[in-house]
């Protein structure tokens, strides 16, 4: 289906109370936009709104000051109802320089609010952003509410008592701006002030200056005479479940899920990885968590990483490896070794735009086919996908459980959006997580490495160091009964069938596919997997408010598929499958269930917008009516 976008309703910034808002902080890499965004997120979470955030970093590490490719942004969508994406269009754009304005203005909704530091709109900066004339002086911003303030000047005045130099003084610009935006949405500054004091505990003058800047920005909002249409907006609290929350990115949730998995399985975990964007945060987080049963190994390359993980699993520790698409491609032979030797292995793929180096910092779901089929030989392997940042925690635990229980490699699919995006996460009670302690084989009697569990078909795990269980494993085909090398034709057939049956059997060990929202049958099912969850969910919710009979189904278990999925899909007249690829999951659904599904495909490195899914839903219903 052709990708089109619908604008989501009339603009609402005229009202004093708004249901939801999208704010984007954009500035130079050195302007501190990520800190600003995170502080605002904390205050918003405390205020009681639901929210979702997305940091958008440039690929360049230290881009030249004022360059368009050096713009760093942080987007937050918050509101009174459940929020599952970082938002389509911006209601408020904070642009700290001309480059930040020119790269983001196209996403600002008509009538939206733009806050700029007019002090940064110098001839030099305008030239770097490739502006022919100053947009603050010509008609470029006519359709928007504009708050142009010489923030640099305001900040220097506010921090003067602290005796900072010009350069250090200007570094407080982000806090001044944050103070202003906090005033705009009636946020409490207490938490930000506390964390500034903590962060700069050893430099009281810096802490003081930042707090003064924050307060000055806030009182500017309170006291200055602002243009018509700019006032404090009340965003009602969301109705969220009681509990203790924290802000969580997908990468962090995945790392903590692996830690939880190792605790629940009662096993040590070796995380072997090679740095690659956007997967490296997982390695960083786990390298810092060795107080748990974790060790990390930064290998010399992707192949060594997967092989070290397989070696660890052979030795009785759970091996985990992680990468993005190009690295997973290199690991393929090692993954098949784990499949052939029936050793547990968790492989995390944080997908990015491909092929080849592609778009390293952007998101995509185009490794679906590689995850399902990208191995030599008949090498089945379970594949599961995380849907939201918080879901990464649960999916990581599930990956550990399945890998160990079925003595198999398993692929866990995340993506660049999930890894970096954050959302409030209800902290689970660790005691309520179900444990699945590993059991190593110890019985010497009639031992072979091929002894199997009759139900799961998993072979025994015998740890080197155990007396009497000395055995050899290898990639060569093994005799079904003894585990010794076998080139026998019938045996190879039997082993191939066994490997297929073992993985297929996982289908009976996973939850039945449920409908996230809507009825279990009807006119239209929107079927997603992975990080498309948020946009699909909002679109289906809005469509249902229009009385359209549409349901949302999100598939976590991609291989094997939940056994009831075919019957479930058969209950819908039409099935729509949005994917950030050219249509990979949809082919599986069509071939598996012989259903006529419609694809909605986007491969731009950007996540789906709610309006894009909405447009597709409307189009489907128009077609249904025409039938």
């Amino acid at each position: 289906m052709e990708l089109v976008e619908e604008k989501l309703g009339a603009h609402h910034l005229d009202e004093k109370q708004v249901l939801d808002v999208v704010v984007r902080f954009a500035g130079d890499s050195g302007d501190g936009m990520q800190l600003t965004g995170n502080s605002f997120t904390q205050a918003t979470a405390l205020y009681g709104n639901d929210l979702s955030t997305f940091p958008d970093f440039p690929a360049e590490i230290r881009a030249p000051v004022g360059a368009t490719f050096g713009v760093s942004a942080f987007q937050i969508y918050f509101g009174a109802e459940d929020v599952t994406t970082a938002g389509d269009e911006l209601d408020v754009l904070v642009a700290m320089n001309p480059a930040a304005l020119i790269t983001n203005l196209a996403n600002l909704v008509d009538g939206g609010l733009v806050i700029v530091d007019s002090g940064a709109f110098t001839a030099k900066n305008l030239h770097k952003a490739k502006y022919d004339s100053n947009p603050l002086e010509d008609s470029s911003l006519d359709g928007f509410r504009v708050l142009a303030i010489d923030i640099s000047k305001q900040v220097l005045a506010a921090v003067e008592p602290f005796g900072l130099g010009h350069k250090d003084g200007l570094r407080c610009k982000n806090m001044w701006t944050l103070g202003l935006v906090m005033w705009l949405f009636d946020r409490d500054r207490k938490l930000t002030i506390e964390s500034l004091q903590k962060k700069f505990a050893s430099k009281p003058e810096i802490a003081g200056a930042n707090v003064a800047a924050l307060n000055a920005g806030h009182s500017y909002g309170e006291t200055a005479e602002l243009p018509v249409g700019i006032h404090v907006y009340k965003v009602p609290k969301a109705d969220v479940l009681p509990g203790t929350y924290r802000n969580m990115t997908g990468a962090n949730a995945l790392a903590w899920g692996l830690i939880a998995g190792s605790e629940l399985a009662d096993i040590d975990l070796l995380f072997a990885s090679y740095p690659i964007t956007p997967a490296s945060n997982l390695l960083h987080e786990l390298a810092n968590r060795k107080e748990f049963r974790i060790n990390t190994f930064q290998a010399e390359d992707e192949i060594a990483a997967v092989c070290a993980a397989v070696g660890a699993s052979f030795a009785g520790t759970l091996g985990v490896t992680s990468s993005a698409g190009p690295g997973i491609a290199l690991k393929s032979e090692g993954i098949a070794l784990a499949a052939a030797t029936e050793l547990p292995l968790v492989v995390v793929n944080t997908q990015r735009g491909g092929p080849s180096t592609g778009l390293p910092t952007k998101t995509e779901q185009s490794d679906f086919n590689m995850a399902l089929y990208g191995r030599h030989g008949d090498t089945p392997m379970p594949v599961i996908a995380a849907a939201t940042p918080g879901d990464c925690f649960d999916v990581a635990i599930e990956a550990v459980r399945l890998a160990i229980k079925y003595m198999t490699p398993i692929m866990l699919l995340s993506d660049g959006y999930l890894a970096n995006a954050s959302e409030p996460w209800k902290i689970p009670d660790a005691g309520s997580l179900q444990s699945f302690p590993v059991s190593f084989h110890e019985d010497v009697e009639d031992f072979t490495p091929s002894i199997r569990n009759g139900e799961t078909l998993a072979r025994v795990w015998a740890k080197p160091g155990t007396p009497g269980l000395e055995h050899r494993l290898g990639g060569i085909e093994k005799n079904y009964d003894t585990g010794n090398i076998s080139y026998d034709p019938e045996n190879h057939q039997k082993m191939t069938d066994l490997r297929q049956a073992k993985i297929a059997g996982i289908a009976s060990d996973i939850p039945k596919q449920e409908v996230v929202l809507g009825e279990e049958s009807g006119k239209l099912a929107v079927v997603g997997w992975g990080s498309t969850f948020g946009a699909i969910h909002q679109a289906v919710k809005r469509a249902r408010l229009e009385n359209l009979k549409v349901s949302h189904i999100q598939v976590r278990y991609l291989s094997p598929l939940p056994p009831n999925l075919g019957d479930l899909l058969a209950g819908f007249e039409t099935v729509l499958v949005p994917e950030m690829n050219t249509g990979q999951f949809i082919k599986l659904l069509r071939s598996e269930y012989l259903i006529d599904a419609e694809g909605l495909n986007k491969v731009s490195g950007q996540p789906f917008k709610i309006g894009e899914i909405m447009a597709a839903i409307h189009k489907e219903f128009a077609a249904i009516r025409d039938k």
Binding site: A272, R289, A304, A315
Partner: protein, 336 residues
């Protein structure tokens, strides 16, 4: 108190698997020597783990009644690193060949040695690809005629011990497949070494490169074509022990000299395992002008990756906390 180890013999380390090397292959001799050495090491059998890649030599683990892992081509060093990181108590052996360890797995070998992972590498060098039917390898001499180089190979070969030295290996030795006594002593010393012990074993392939090491293997010739290096001893060789190695101070190169009344043993180079410059010079000696050095060429005590990694883990574990404490750490808020 740990239980005394049971008395083991060679037979305890043999498996019931039919050995599938070609008749006359040097691998048989190496296998026998290692099986015989195992009981002498006085270590628990279940602690021994043999990890190999792909190739003739890499079938070795199937014939050792210990833990073993026949992995994929070139990757044994990486798999072995994972094994050792997972359980530092295990005694890990990497069995590889010139193609497996220096061509497809060259990168892993380099990094294994650089990290000084505590294990032993036995590299069977026969200067040919055997299992794929005789193509030239990265150690084949220029001009080697093979199915993939019918006009003779033009690649310059590398010398395994020199490569190991360049990679920062802390124990480098060379021995010969059929020299059971010498091989056994060298491997035992490698086993005692803390860190990566790299041992090149000159191994005859009777099918594709038969006789390439004849000069150093043949009892009648060997004395003139190899020198057994020993720490603290002068570099003397020859049937009559009448030849030696001297350093030419003007050119900083080695030269072979005849021992006479004028040139005595005291005028010769004395082997020092801890001298890297000397190791560089003697590891690259090759025939026919120079004898091939066998024995422990270089040895140095250095930190081992696994020990240091484990130490960091131990430090971190002193601050052990519960999963719940982790989940609740940092900024949180409560909704009533």
């Amino acid at each position: 108190m740990s239980k005394p180890l049971p008395t083991l013999t060679l037979k305890d380390f043999a498996t019931d698997q039919e050995i599938r090397w070609c008749p006359g292959c040097g691998d048989y001799a190496i296998l026998k020597t290692i099986q015989k050495l195992m009981p002498e090491l006085e270590q628990a059998k279940e602690k021994q783990v043999f990890v190999s890649g792909i190739g003739c030599s890499s079938r070795f683990p199937y014939y050792m009644n210990t833990y073993g892992f026949h992995t994929i081509h070139g990757r044994a060093p990486a798999v072995a690193t994972g094994v050792k990181l997972a359980n530092p108590e295990l005694n890990v052996w990497v069995i590889t060949g010139d193609g497996d360890g220096l061509s497809i797995g060259g990168n892993h070998m380099l990094h294994l040695l650089r990290r000084n992972v505590d294990l032993q590498v036995l590299l069977f060098n026969n200067e040919i690809y055997g299992l794929t039917k005789g193509q030239y390898s990265p150690t084949s001499k220029v001009g080697t005629k093979s199915p993939s180089s019918p006009q003779g190979s033009v690649d310059l070969p590398l010398m395994p011990c020199e490569l190991a030295l360049g990679a920062g290996a802390t124990f480098i030795a060379r021995s010969i497949d059929t020299e059971a006594k010498h091989l056994s002593v060298v491997v035992k010393r490698g086993d005692e070494h803390r860190g990566s012990a790299f041992i090149e074993i000159l191994q005859n392939c009777p099918i594709y490169s038969d006789g390439i090491f004849e000069n150093v293997k043949n009892k009648k010739l060997a004395a003139d074509f190899k020198v057994e290096v020993e720490h603290g001893k002068p570099l003397v060789f020859g049937k009559e022990r009448n030849k030696g190695i001297q350093l030419d101070f003007q050119t900083l190169t080695l030269k072979v000299v005849e021992l006479t009344d004028m040139v005595q043993e005291t005028d010769l180079l004395v082997h020092n395992e801890n001298n890297k410059t000397l190791a560089q010079l003697i590891s690259t000696m090759s025939g026919p002008d120079f004898p091939v050095a066998v024995g422990v060429i270089y040895r140095q005590d250095k930190a081992s990756y696994v020990t240091d990694s484990q130490e960091q883990v131990n430090v971190a574990r002193k601050k052990k906390r519960s999963l719940q404490e982790l989940l609740n750490s940092g900024n949180t808020w409560t909704v009533e």
